[in-house]
C-alpha cells in the first residue's frame, strides 16, 4: 500500500509539473539558453578559425561550463519553485485534506512528491544537457570527456536543492520556501567562489568558507565536480589557478563527498517526513 501511494503521488507530481505554467517557463528559458548557446558556439567556431582545433575546443569547453551553469540555475529555480507549492501550497489551499484523509501514510506522500520532483528535475537536466552537448559537438566538434558523470552530478545537485525546498515547504509558505532555497543555493555558490579565491591566494579563512558551505549545502561541491566532468582535459594544466575561477572545476568529487551528499539528501528528506508527519492540517 505504501509503495503504491509513493508511486501514485510521484505520478501525480509529474502530471502536475507537466500541466503547470512553471514547466512552460522552464522550457522557454531552456530554449532561449540553447538558442543563445548554439549561436555563441557557432561564433566560437568562426572567430577562433585562426586557432587550432585544440584551442577552439578548450575555449568551447570553458564557455560550455558557463552555459551549463545557466542550465543548472534553471533546473534549481524550476524544481525549487515546484517543490515549494507542492506541500505548503496544498496544505494552504486544502487539497491536502482530502488526500491525507485516505488510508495513506504522510511519509509516503512526502516521498512520492520527492520522487516525482527528482524524476522531473533529473530528466530536465539530462535532456537539456544532452541537447547542449549535441549543439557544441555539431558547431565546435567538442564532446565533454565525462558527459554522463557530469549530468549525474548536476541531477544530484538539483535533487539536493529540491529536497531542501521540500523540507522548507513543510514549515513555511509556498513562495517563501522556493525563495529561501534558491537564496541558499546562490549564497553557497558565492561562498564557493570566495573559498576558491581564498585557496588560490593562500588565505585559509576564506578557503574554509568554501569548504564549510559545500558541507552545509552540497550544491556547489557537486556543481564544481560537474564542471570538471564537462571541461577539456587540457585545462588540467591550469588546475592551480582554477580554484580562483568560478567556471573551472578542479576535479571530480571523491566517493566520500558523494556519499556525504547522498546522506545529506536522505537526512533532509527524513526531516521533511518527520516535520510533515507532526503537522496539524
Amino acid at each position: 500500500m505504501t509503495a503504491r501511494t509513493v508511486l501514485t503521488v510521484a505520478a501525480l507530481t509529474l502530471r502536475e509539473a507537466s500541466r503547470r505554467r512553471v514547466v512552460w517557463a522552464l522550457l522557454g528559458m531552456t530554449v532561449v539558453l540553447l538558442a543563445l548557446g548554439s549561436w555563441g558556439f557557432s561564433r566560437v567556431a568562426d572567430e577562433f578559425g585562426g586557432l587550432g582545433i585544440l584551442e577552439a575546443r578548450i575555449a568551447a569547453s570553458t564557455i560550455l561550463n558557463l552555459v551549463m551553469f545557466g542550465l543548472s540555475l534553471i533546473a534549481a529555480l524550476g524544481t525549487a519553485f515546484l517543490a515549494g507549492p507542492t506541500l505548503a501550497g496544498e496544505v494552504e489551499s486544502g487539497i491536502a485534506l482530502a488526500v491525507l484523509a485516505r488510508p495513506v501514510r504522510r511519509s509516503a506522500v512526502v516521498v512520492g512528491k520527492w520522487l516525482g520532483l527528482v524524476v522531473f528535475g533529473g530528466s530536465f537536466v539530462v535532456v537539456a544537457g544532452l541537447g547542449q552537448f549535441f549543439i557544441v559537438d555539431a558547431t565546435v566538434g567538442y564532446w565533454p570527456p565525462q558527459a554522463f558523470t557530469g549530468l549525474a552530478l548536476l541531477a544530484l545537485q538539483t535533487t539536493t536543492l529540491l529536497t531542501l525546498a521540500l523540507l522548507l515547504s513543510t514549515v513555511i509558505s509556498p513562495m517563501a520556501s522556493g525563495i529561501v532555497a534558491v537564496g541558499l543555493f546562490g549564497a553557497t555558490w558565492i561562498a564557493g567562489v570566495v573559498g576558491g579565491l581564498g585557496a588560490a591566494f593562500d588565505n585559509q579563512a576564506l578557503a574554509q568558507m568554501g569548504d564549510v558551505s559545500r558541507l552545509v549545502l552540497p550544491t556547489d561541491g557537486l556543481w564544481r565536480g560537474a564542471m570538471s566532468a564537462f571541461q577539456h582535459p587540457a585545462l588540467g594544466f591550469f588546475l592551480a589557478e582554477a580554484e580562483g575561477f568560478p567556471f573551472l572545476g578542479t576535479g571530480l568529487p571523491g566517493t566520500g563527498y558523494l556519499l556525504y551528499a547522498v546522506a545529506w539528501v536522505a537526512a533532509v528528506l527524513g526531516l521533511a517526513v518527520l516535520t510533515f508527519g507532526r503537522r496539524d492540517l
Binding site: M1, T8, S93, A98, A101, P103, R278, D280, L281
Partner: protein, 315 residues
C-alpha cells in the same frame, strides 16, 4: 463528558474518547467523546468556534489530539488502514485544479486502495450532477461545483463511513436537497454518516442522533426525540364525557382551556400511530373532534436554549 452510546470501539463506525486539543493558549476541544454507530446518521451542531471541525480532523488523523483516542470501523485511528472505507468532504474543499473531475476521482480511488470501475466513477459524478463536466479541468469549476465534486470524492470508493463537514455551504437550495437525498440513500444502504452543518433544518431532517458542541465540549446529545423532549397534541373537542377524558389522560397529561385540550405525549411516543388511534377512540366515544394539531419544539429552539443556558443539559 461522554455521549451515550451502545456501540463499542470495535463495533462503532466512529468511536472517539476523551479528545483534547489546544492551539497555543486556546483550548479548542476539551474532553470530547462521541460515537457514530454503523449505519447511523449523526449530526454535529454548534456555534462557530465550538470545535466541530477540529473534532472531525482529529477523528481523521489530520490533527494530532493532545489526548484521547479514536477508533474507526473497529480499527485504531493511528493505523492509516482504518481510513480505507471512509469518505470525507472537508469544510475547505479544494481539488487539484490541473486535473479533470474524472481524474480527481480516479486518484482518490487509487489512494483508497479499492477497485472501482470507471463506469461506477462516472455514475458517482452523475449522482452529484457533474456527469457532463467529467472531462473538464477543476480550475474552471465554481465553488458549488467543487463542493459537488468533493461530495463525489467522498462517495466514490464505496465507503462504510462518510464524514461531511458543512457539505452544503456553497450549494443552492436544489443542491442542498440533493445532499439530503444522498444522505438518506446512504443510511438506507447502511452507511454511517457524521454530518457537520450549520443548517439545523438539514440536520433535523436527516439525522438519527445529534451531538451539540459548545466551547469545545459536548453540551448535549441524543436522539432527536430525546433532545426535543415533550411532544404536544392540541385538540379542539366537543361533547367530552368523563370516559373520553379518561381516554385523553391515558395518552398523557391533559391541560384544558375551554374546548381546547392539550395532551402532553411522552418523548418516545410515535405520533404517526398514537394520534390516529386516539382520534378514532374519541370519535368512538361520541366526542366531536373539530381540530387536531400535533406540535413539537424545533431543533433550532432547543439548540438556542442549550447554548444560552450551558451546564443545564444532561448529555
Amino acid at each position: 463528558m461522554s455521549v451515550e452510546s451502545t456501540a463499542s470501539p470495535e463495533t462503532a463506525a466512529v468511536h472517539a474518547a476523551g479528545l483534547r486539543k489546544r492551539y497555543g493558549r486556546q483550548v479548542a476541544v476539551h474532553d470530547v467523546s462521541l460515537t457514530v454507530g454503523r449505519g447511523e446518521v449523526v449530526g454535529l451542531l454548534g456555534p462557530n468556534g465550538a470545535g466541530k471541525t477540529s473534532v472531525i480532523k482529529m477523528v481523521l488523523g489530520l490533527v494530532r489530539p493532545d489526548a484521547g483516542e479514536v477508533h474507526l470501523l473497529g480499527r485504531p485511528g493511528t493505523d492509516p488502514g482504518s481510513r480505507s472505507e471512509i469518505g470525507y468532504l472537508p469544510e475547505l474543499f479544494r481539488y487539484q485544479p490541473w486535473l479533470t473531475a474524472a481524474e480527481v476521482l480516479t486518484l482518490h480511488v487509487r489512494l483508497s486502495g479499492r477497485t472501482v470501475t470507471r463506469e461506477r466513477q462516472r455514475e458517482t459524478l452523475g449522482l452529484v450532477g457533474l456527469a457532463d463536466r467529467a472531462d473538464d479541468r477543476v480550475h474552471g469549476f465554481s465553488k458549488g461545483m467543487q463542493q459537488r465534486l468533493g461530495l463525489a470524492v467522498a462517495l466514490v470508493a464505496e465507503p462504510r463511513l462518510v464524514i461531511l463537514d458543512e457539505p452544503t455551504s456553497a450549494l443552492d437550495p436544489l443542491g442542498r436537497a440533493d445532499v439530503r437525498d444522498i444522505v438518506r440513500s446512504l443510511r438506507e444502504r447502511g452507511v454511517a454518516v457524521l454530518l457537520n452543518s450549520h443548517l439545523i433544518g438539514e440536520v433535523e431532517r436527516v439525522c438519527d442522533r445529534v451531538v451539540i458542541l459548545n466551547h469545545g465540549r459536548v453540551a448535549a446529545s441524543g436522539t432527536l426525540a430525546q433532545l426535543l423532549g415533550r411532544q404536544e397534541l392540541h385538540l379542539r373537542l366537543g361533547k367530552v364525557t368523563a370516559t373520553a377524558y379518561e381516554r385523553l389522560a391515558a395518552a398523557g397529561e391533559v391541560v384544558r382551556d375551554g374546548e381546547v385540550h392539550t395532551v402532553v405525549l411522552p418523548p418516545d411516543a410515535d405520533l404517526a400511530t398514537a394520534v390516529p388511534r386516539l382520534v378514532a377512540d374519541l370519535v368512538g366515544l361520541g366526542v366531536d373532534v373539530h381540530a387536531v394539531e400535533p406540535s413539537r419544539v424545533t431543533l433550532e429552539e432547543r439548540l438556542l436554549d442549550i447554548l444560552r443556558h450551558p451546564g443545564e443539559e444532561a448529555s
